[in-house]
Symmetry: C2
């Protein structure tokens, strides 16, 4: 049985894509496969699973040596089990930059595309067999695309993501904007999480100018709910940074509706990074970055120290 | 202008695929691109260029920082210019195992498939636009597939490679076997090369049991021509190994027609590797390995020390 999984912090794409691909492998290719998760899915992903009546996949923490796996929505060994290169990697489907570090024993199928969402790539790979996809699989695909594109607001959005999402919404008879609003509301309800959990929810490590940052992003339609906890979030940062071997945490609170990010500025280093990277002047302990919505396209490439 | 290239030792696939893809990018996608080579093409590749009246691409030795490139037929930084990760890698199309080591600045198109030949992958990617391909492009594609599959004799051959080659040969009105025989005869004419050049012609470094070997392969329809130079080849081995930081050179002379390999056994270490890896008993300074034709599928995976 092939295990299909995404990265350690399952958002909607990293929860939905494994389910989509496990369906395709099992039902269309005839290769038994099951989706698993490498961590607790976020509140939006849980809402999506409920919505399409799909059981939450089992969460696994370890892989056996030689175990057959398919990796989706990442190609970064840091976001995967430590022994990933000892597994039998059968395929990789992803939409992130090539990080280097994964190795395979023989030639395998690797499909990386500069699209906003793994599910869009899968839609193309599945091709005509999409006609056989049950409603839940189509619903998961639509959800992945709406999530990763922030309903087409993110600059990562391509015409292909948009076209696939609209086609799926039409077929499912769903009001795309209404459904997206429900998803984003689910993601924005973070009252159950501790500050440390919030900082770790959607974080990627990135090194710049000799320092390593944990770049945390929280996409929300209620930024006030998060910013009200600013002092506690800042207090939790050193612990979270240390846990991950990073120097500091940078938290970007992305306002999906206003299409802007608020970066917390708890230190001189982060003030410097913010001013150099985004051409702003920081006064106080936060700074608003108009139009910034994508870590991949707008934050990581801009970072300088 | 995007430069499209394969690896440092251009065989037919690594010479033809860049030309095919540069045509596709320039003529179909409208992105100006040109094929270049990272080394002198082998005699088979030169024959193929002549046959289809395609000018030999310029040989380059260096890349400028930030230069836009597409890498085909390899994903191994050791087979590419030293500063490859400073280039602007726009796409990778390959059929080898993922080695790890290439990095990209953003998400790009990466297509790796477990097929025998890069050109087969390109045929699929180009899809319906193949109708616009000139004869020379189709001829190059056919040549790449015949070369990499040794006219379907290699165990790397898939049904897809076979089907694409037959379709192209039909369309071009070519007798596939006759043409393949001409290609292999061209590859087998190695009289102009020194022993060191022969050892370096098609070689990949591979580490096993704490030792590093340079695994050289010579595919030929006239093995006697090469084996007659055995003493001189063995004498050239230490120099070639040292040049590449390897401990020893293993030379496999692949008899395309008899479908077997002859491994030269100049040392106790290589005798041990041969016996352990291929379950044979070595007597004398060479050993015949029946059915062995593919470094990728049959040699590298078997190697033990």
């Amino acid at each position: 049985m092939i295990k299909v999984f995404g990265h350690y912090s399952p958002d909607t794409d990293s929860t939905g894509s494994p389910l989509i691909w496990a369906w395709y492998l099992s039902e269309i290719e005839g290769t038994p496969a099951k989706a698993v998760l490498l961590g607790e899915p976020n509140t939006e992903a849980k809402f999506v699973l409920d919505q399409w009546q799909v059981a939450q996949p089992e969460i696994i923490r370890e892989l056996a040596e030689g175990e057959p796996v398919v990796i989706v929505d990442t190609n970064n060994p840091d976001e995967l089990p430590a022994n990933i290169n000892k597994a039998d990697i059968r395929a990789i489907i992803d939409h992130h930059k090539l990080v280097g570090g994964l190795e395979t024993k023989g030639p395998i199928n690797i499909t990386i595309r500069p699209l906003a969402c793994t599910a869009t790539i899968m839609f193309n790979l599945i091709g005509k067999h999409m006609a056989q996809a049950p409603k839940a699989i189509k619903g998961l695909m639509l959800s992945c695309i709406l999530s990763d594109t922030l309903e087409f607001r993110s600059p990562t959005t391509t015409d292909e993501d948009r076209a696939v999402a609209h086609a799926l919404a039409d077929e499912l008879g769903i009001d795309l904007s209404e459904y997206a609003a429900q998803m984003f509301a689910a993601k924005s309800d973070v009252s159950d999480f501790s500050e440390a959990e919030l900082l770790k929810m959607d974080a990627k490590k990135y090194a710049v100018g000799g320092k390593t940052f944990r770049i945390s992003v929280l996409e929300t339609t209620s930024p006030d709910q998060i910013l009200a906890r600013k002092d506690a979030l800042v207090a939790a940062m050193p612990g979270v940074a240390a846990e991950d071997g990073a120097d500091e945490v940078m938290l970007f609170v992305i306002d999906i509706l206003k299409e802007e990010a608020t970066l917390l500025v708890p230190s001189d280093t982060i003030r410097q990074v913010a001013e150099k990277s985004f051409g702003v002047t920081v006064e106080g302990d936060e700074v608003v970055l108009p139009g910034v919505m994508s870590r991949k396209k707008q934050i990581i490439p801009a970072l300088t120290l």
